[in-house]
Subunit: 332 residues, 2 copies
Amino acid sequence: MATLDDVARRAGVSTATASRIINGSSKPVSAALRDRVEAAVADLHYVPNAHARQLAGSGRTAVGVVVHDVSDPYFAEITRGLQRVATTDGRLVIICNTYRDPARELDYVELLRAHQVAAMVLAGSGYHDVAFARSLRGKLRAYELSGGRVAVIGRHDRTGDAVVPDNESGGFMAGEHLYALGHRDIGVIAGPRNLTTTTDRLTGLRRAARTHGRPAPKVAYADFDRDSGAAATGDLLSTHPRLTAIAALNDSMAVGALAFLRDVDRRVSVIGFDDMPIARDVTPALTTIRLPLADMGAQAMSLALSPASPDPRVERVPATLVERASTFPPDR
Amino acid sequence: MATLDDVARRAGVSTATASRIINGSSKPVSAALRDRVEAAVADLHYVPNAHARQLAGSGRTAVGVVVHDVSDPYFAEITRGLQRVATTDGRLVIICNTYRDPARELDYVELLRAHQVAAMVLAGSGYHDVAFARSLRGKLRAYELSGGRVAVIGRHDRTGDAVVPDNESGGFMAGEHLYALGHRDIGVIAGPRNLTTTTDRLTGLRRAARTHGRPAPKVAYADFDRDSGAAATGDLLSTHPRLTAIAALNDSMAVGALAFLRDVDRRVSVIGFDDMPIARDVTPALTTIRLPLADMGAQAMSLALSPASPDPRVERVPATLVERASTFPPDR
DNA sequence: ATCATACGGGAAAGCCCTTGCCTCAACCCA
DNA sequence: TGGGTTGAGGCAAGGGCTTTCCCGTATGAT
C-alpha cells in the first residue's frame, strides 16, 4: 500500500507539503508542487490511511449506532434517518447489531469507544436489568468523559440526550381504539419482558382498560418477530377463546397474528404498533400506532452530533393512531 | 482517555508487558503482574485505541460492505447473512449505503480502502456503465494489490470471486410460470435500466416469451420500490389494457402492483422476485422467484474472508419458483 | 561451582499521518 | 540599504500501540 512518504518522494516534496496539499490545508502552496503531488497521488492510487490520520489528527469523524437488528424494518427505518443526517455531516456510520443480547450491547459500546467515534446512538437498549444498566452507564460515562457524545432512542435509566417515543400513550391509544369499537376483552401480544418498549406499551394498554372499566388485557409474550407473534396468537386464543381483539406491540407480530387468524379462519380485530412500511399492504390493511421512525433516528443523530449541553435534552415523540381495516367492532 | 501508558504506569510495568497481558500474548507473564495490570485496566476503564492498534499491529480486522440501502429488505437479508459470518469471525462490519449512486459507490470503495478493511463485499453494483466499471476495477485492483480481498454479489464486468444469482433463469421461470397458466400477453415492471439485475431478469422473461411463441412482454421501468411499482402498473395497464399478468422484477414493486390492482379492482396475476419475508403476508400471497438472500450474503462473506485463490471462484445461486396465490389462469 | 537454558520483563523502533515551529527567500517600505 | 513582512516549504515531534530484540535472573545439568 502506497504511503504518504511514497507520494512525497515521487513528487519531490516533503511529507508535510504533500499532506497539506492532499488535505486542502489553508497554507498556500505553489501550483507546480500541487500538480506534482496530485499526479503522484493518482499514479500511486494513493489513499491516506484512515487510522494513521485519526491518530495524528484531531477530529474524530466516525459515529456509531447500536441497534437490535438493521434487517428488522423498525430499526431499518430508524437507521435510515440516522444515516441521512450523519452522511450529510460527512461522517462514516458504524452499525452494530446486538440481536437483543445485552452483553453484546455492552461489547459494542466498548468497541465504538475503541474506535474513537465522535458520537454514538443507542436504539433499543432499554432493558429492565439493573446490572446491565449500571454497567452501561459506567461505560457511557467513561466515553463521555473522553469527549464522546451519546444519544439514546427510547427510555433509559440514565440522564442524557434522548429521543423518547411516547410508548405509554401509544399503548393507551391502541386500547382506547379497541374499547371504543366495543371490544370488552382484548389480548395483547407483547415483546420480550425485559424491554422497556414492551412494558411501556403494555402499561398504556392496561391504563386504557382501567379507564374503560374493562378487565385487564390478557397477555402473551413473544419476540417482536412475525412467527412468534403468530404462535402467541394461537396460545392466547386457545386460552382465552372469547377475545375479540388483539393488540400486538409491534407490526411484525401483528402481521403474524393476521396470518394465524387467516389460517384458522377467525375474525378478530388486530392493531399493531410502529406503522412499518408494509403495514398498509397486508390484508386486511393493518390499523396501527404510528411512530415516525426515520425522524426519530434523524433527531437522535442530530442530538448526538450537536455539542454537549449542560442539561440533557429529551425529545418526546408522540404516537398517532392510523386506522385501517384490521380493526372493527366485535361480532356480537 | 486513558492510554496504555497510563495503565502501565499505574501497574508499575512497561507498556510492553501491559500490551502483552491485555492482548493475551503467548509470552508468559507472572500472575502477579497480570493481576495488577488487569486491575489498572478496570480502574481506568481502559479501552485500547483501535486506530493505534491497527497502525501498529499487523492484522486488518474490519470488513466492509457496500449495498444500495440496508433498509431495503433485499439488502437487509443479504446483510444479515454477511454479518453472521463476519461476526463469527470476530470482525467489525462497516456498512455503506450508496442509494444507487455509482459515484457514491466509488467513494465508498476508497473509504473502505482507507480504513484498511481486510475484505469488502460489493452487493448490487452491477451497473451498465463502462466508465464506472473501469474506474471501479481500477480501485479494486489497487486494493487487492495491497492485500485486500473482494467479493461481489451479482454479475460484474470483472473477474474475481463472486456470488451470482441466476437472474436470467429466474426471469425465465417467471415467464414460464405465467405462460403455462395460459397467459398470452404479459407486462413487466422492471427496475432501473442501468442495473444488470434488471436486464438479466428481463432477458430471461423475453426468452420465455420466445420459447412459448408469445409476443415480447411489455415493459415499464420503475425503481425497485413499492410506489414506483404501483405507478408503473398503472402506466402499463392503461397502455396495454389486455394484459392478464404482470411480472415485477422484485417483490417490493410486486407489492405495489398488488396495491394498485386492488385499488382499481382488477384481477391480474402478479409474480414477484426475491421472496422477501413479507411476500407471504400480502394478499393475495405473492407468487415469486426465490433467491436465498441471506445465504448469498453469507457465501459472499466467506469468499471474501478466505485466502485469495489463483483463479476466481464463482458461486452460482439458482432461483426457485415459489407458488402462492397471486398468480392464476387468465379469466377468459 | 560453572555453564547453558529458560523465562520474565523492558527499551525502543517503528506503523502512517498531521501540525507547530522554523528557515529561507523574495519582497516591501522607509 | 536595512529591517520587517509575507509566502513556501521542510523538520521533527508526537499520537497510542505492537513487537522485535535484548538483558538480567533463576533454574537445571554437569
